[in-house]
């Protein structure tokens, strides 16, 4: 590392002890949205998106991802000292998602529990905080989750992509890790590209303003600083995963940074499941961990509107092969698929006025 580094690095090395993904079963093809709102005319940002079942929300989805992560971690749940859930679709305005998740996995009562919010990077925010808690030896293990059931106004461009899914990670000491997190870097500015005001059902966004000054600026600055400061190059990484609001943005930024389609493709899930918001970059990471080999290096860069990016360098260890079989793969959730039409989607997402 170079001197005067702005990288965030814990004093004691940390890593991912267990990881788990979750994607609901239902899929809404983008053609269903365009059929209703544009007469089927125009390009589509994804093939289809995942839709939560009528009995699913960020609580239930986080519970399943956390159980998968714990099955891979194979640790005593009484040693977990934090359960943190990042999302922009917590079921309650006031009452933590995280206490329900912690109760369901048996992590109560000797634990921190809190909900995080930073648009689409709430999940990596929780991961970075968990790195600090574990890296300072305040705690042996912490669980960080990023999960969303994203909202899209009917007819809005976001309706094609606003999806459901995410991932959970058990963070712990590096010598027990299946992937060490070597360092992280956050790049944050006040950039109003996307927001949802209090009591509003759907978010607003700045259309083209969400591109250059928002997504591309923050992802690029975070990735560039990370590469320069860690004295690594694109070719040093086996895999790279970016926040993926659509199929185009992550591929464009990846190319600009010198990464090949081969490095990007494993973690690029948006065409098949849509934009899972707080879950988007990190569920891509779980798909990578499902196939990575010991020694592989991974670069992950999240993005959250408002705006900021967290970049992370991970190095896979030889404990990966033994752990990953202990929970369903991310691909097995993606292939568990039931297509629905727009009318069913409208009912499942509460878009029909009943009273």
């Amino acid at each position: 590392m170079t001197e005067n580094s702005k990288l965030l690095q814990p004093e004691n090395p940390v890593g991912i002890i267990g990881y788990g993904a979750y994607v609901p079963k239902y899929r809404l093809p983008a053609t269903e949205v365009s059929k209703v709102w544009t007469d089927g005319v125009g390009g589509l940002p994804v093939v289809e998106k995942s839709v939560p079942g009528i009995d699913e929300d960020v609580v239930t989805m986080s519970i399943e991802a956390a159980r998968n992560a714990m099955n891979r971690a194979r640790i005593d749940v009484s040693e977990v000292r934090a359960v943190w859930v990042g999302s922009e679709s917590h079921p309650y305005a006031v009452k933590p998602t995280s206490t329900i998740v912690a109760e369901a996995i048996g992590a109560v009562p000797n634990t921190q529990a809190a909900d995080w919010e930073f648009a689409c990077k709430a999940g990596t925010e929780a991961m970075v905080a968990a790195m600090g808690l574990v890296g300072s030896k305040m705690a042996k293990y912490a669980i960080a989750i990023g999960m969303d059931t994203a909202q899209g106004r009917p007819g809005d461009p976001l309706e094609y992509t606003a999806a459901a899914g995410g991932a959970a990670f058990v963070i712990g000491p590096a010598d027990e890790a299946l992937a060490e997190i070597e360092c992280t870097y956050s790049f944050v500015t006040d950039t109003p590209d996307f927001w949802r005001r209090a009591y509003q059902k759907y978010p607003e966004h700045g259309h083209r303003f969400t591109g250059e000054p928002a997504y591309f600026k923050h992802v690029t600055e975070a990735a560039k600083y990370m590469l320069e400061t860690s004295e690594t190059k694109a070719e040093d990484y086996a895999y790279v995963v970016f926040h993926q609001p659509n199929a185009k943005f992550p591929q464009t930024v990846g190319k600009q940074l010198g990464f090949t389609p081969e490095q990007i493709k494993t973690g690029l899930l948006v065409s098949e499941i849509g934009n899972t918001y707080s879950g988007a970059a990190i569920i891509g990471l779980t798909a990578i961990l499902d196939e990575a080999k010991p020694g592989d290096r991974i670069l992950m860069v999240s993005y959250g509107s408002g705006a900021g990016s967290d970049a992370m360098i991970l190095k896979v260890t030889d404990q990966i092969d033994d752990r990953r079989k202990n929970a369903p793969s991310t691909r097995s959730y993606i292939s568990r698929r039931k297509e629905i039409d727009y009318a069913t989607y409208a009912r499942m997402r509460g878009k029909l006025t009943m009273k």
Binding site: G53, D55, D57, T60, I100, E103, P328, Y333, R336, K338
Partner: protein, 132 residues
């Protein structure tokens, strides 16, 4: 006021936490502190695996109050691999595959809102077809 009841039942509802009889090793669900097999005290907590199979099922079209948003839905008696029979909704179902004996696994899902849209959310176990 339902809040204390929902709060008291949370462990069994969220994670199928029942009891095991220290005398005859029977697994007990829902927890009742007395073993239904040998009649002795059974207070040791036991987390069920969540695996089981459909023992019988029916489809509900006229749902009771609080569940109408989910109708129509399928309710099953599920024979847990540890022995007890539990009644629960099935979810994420492909109805063409539904049959007695179908292997299922427990998932924690939203059961209902305790009252209206202002009420607390009630979470609990349902069963889905076992993931391949």
């Amino acid at each position: 006021m339902d809040i204390p009841r929902h709060w008291r039942l949370k462990k069994q509802r969220y994670a199928l936490v029942g009891e095991v009889c220290d005398h005859c090793d029977s697994k007990v669900f829902p927890p009742r502190d007395i073993c239904p097999d040998c009649g002795e005290e059974a207070k040791t907590l036991y987390s069920f695996s969540g695996k089981g199979e459909v023992y019988s099922y029916t489809k509900v079209f006229e749902a009771p109050a609080g569940f109408d948003e989910n109708a129509p839905y399928t309710v099953a008696m599920v024979k847990l691999e540890e022995g007890p029979l539990v009644t629960a909704q099935l979810t994420d179902l492909d109805e063409s595959n539904l049959e007695i004996g179908m292997p299922v696994e427990m998932v924690t899902r939203k059961l209902r809102s305790a009252t209206d849209e202002r009420g607390m959310l009630v979470y609990g176990y349902k069963f889905r077809p076992v993931m391949a």
